[in-house]
Symmetry: C2
Subunit: 276 residues, 2 copies
């Protein structure tokens, strides 16, 4: 039997009611403090959406191409349901609305555009060049403790190695650039794939940690993710940048490159932030 | 009576069924060729969502702060319904799912986060500096005819004045930078507000027109918009940039500044594109 990796176990979905609902479990291991990780939740929703689309039309569109999530309320750990609705079945793409539900109430609302990424596709124009970052061996291993002593159970499952040039916040000296860069891999050796890129796009600490001294939790309101290519096996390079901080909201842009230096995923998010 | 501006008339929503449904009209004047404009459609959905939220909780959250739309199928011109569901009523924000429906089928699926923007808010950190662009008088007025002779009825309603440095495509000579910059205003003198910024974030031609010779329609699959501030009266400056073109998909980033040079809105979109 092939190994079952942590990420696949924690995002498992079980269909019932003719694939109208999936049972899932919000895993206590994929948390920041006691809150489930937002990118992890989006991956659950996308996996359920792909399964729902496959039930209708076969496995033509296994990959999330675009996924937008609105975070309504933090889900509790434990059982949850994903309710979904196939909005469109096209030749090249399908679109599915998916909702994480607990106690009958929406926790995360998402819309997923599914398709099939060709592993041999090449960029035609553009794409951000991969940033120069010290090799993983020269980067700073992530800690399982966050600011103010918050526990980070997810760090037992993923290995995030920060570029020391963007890690001043770890010593209480934010660099002021509002940018984090890091290598990311699963500790159990699972290689990245289009689904796990949805997690990667929200994996780093808030880039605002490098703006000014951490002011606590930066909850995501809305996250939009694009998966652009099938990533090569190996660690991912992730860059998270803060945009405008105003009226207690911040936008952040995330880009992910695979080990070949190919831009494979992009995201923007709007999050709430406390400013002094 | 105050004047009724074209944009307000064309985005009018009429509630029924206890505010569970709004009747709307997809206006033939807000079209590119015979297709309704995507940003215009998002503005209709946000206006209906704000009205739905106000029916439940009063006018506490009149402004769209974040709006994500998935374009399922181009709506026909004429009557449509907006179906919605209030996902969350918070103290500072509300979240509403809204769907444009025709003949019982979804055309546009959106999730809107609503709140109240303080007109006196100031940026706290970051924000992209406003680009230097010739004054509207020195910019190139928009044409009511697009590539391949496509008619652009919307251009009778909005005035888009392109920075000549990014208008090579108009003469069949794309500059290659994948960036467009333009001044934008309503022809009937309506000033911008948070709602109309949703339209502005999709107002320019595809930035891919400045990548290579226009290859036709670039339909948006997914659009995510953030409104960051109440814009000052006067023309808006809009910048649209193409990101990565790969596998017949392109991402674009849009930023909007008001006449004070304040960054007031941001968007990303993923669109389909033909490449040779």
């Amino acid at each position: 039997m092939p190994p079952v990796y942590e990420f696949d176990r924690a995002t498992a979905v079980v269909a019932r009611d003719g694939h109208r609902i999936h049972d899932v479990t919000v895993d206590p291991g994929w948390t920041i403090g006691d809150k489930p990780h937002g990118g992890y939740l989006l991956a659950i929703l996308a996996r359920a959406a792909a399964d729902a689309a496959a039930a209708v039309e076969g496995p033509a569109h296994p990959h999330p191409l675009a996924a937008t999530a609105t975070y309504v309320a933090p889900p509790a750990l434990g059982p949850a349901e994903v309710h979904h609705e196939v909005l469109r079945r096209g030749r090249g793409m399908s679109q599915v609305r998916a909702r994480l539900v607990q106690e009958g109430r929406p926790r995360v609302e998402a819309t997923i555009t599914l398709g099939r990424l060709d592993p041999d596709a090449e960029p035609w124009w553009g794409g951000t060049p991969v940033p120069v970052v010290p090799a993983p061996e020269g980067a700073l291993p992530s800690s399982t403790t966050g600011p103010s002593g918050m526990t980070l159970p997810i760090m037992d499952r993923v290995d995030i190695r920060l570029d020391p040039a963007t890690a001043g916040f770890r010593e209480g000296r934010p660099g002021g650039g509002g940018e984090l860069r890091a290598w990311l891999s699963f500790r159990d050796g699972r290689d990245p794939d289009p689904l796990s890129l949805l997690y990667a796009l929200d994996a780093l600490p808030p880039a605002t940690f490098e703006v000014a001294e951490a002011n606590g939790w930066v909850p995501t309101l809305s996250l939009s993710a694009y998966v652009r290519a099938v990533p090569a096996p190996g660690p991912l390079l992730v860059r998270q940048r803060a945009g405008l901080v105003e009226a207690r909201l911040v936008d952040e842009v995330c880009e992910v490159w695979d080990v070949r230096g190919r831009l494979v995923a992009q995201a923007t998010q709007l999050a709430a932030i406390r400013t002094r």
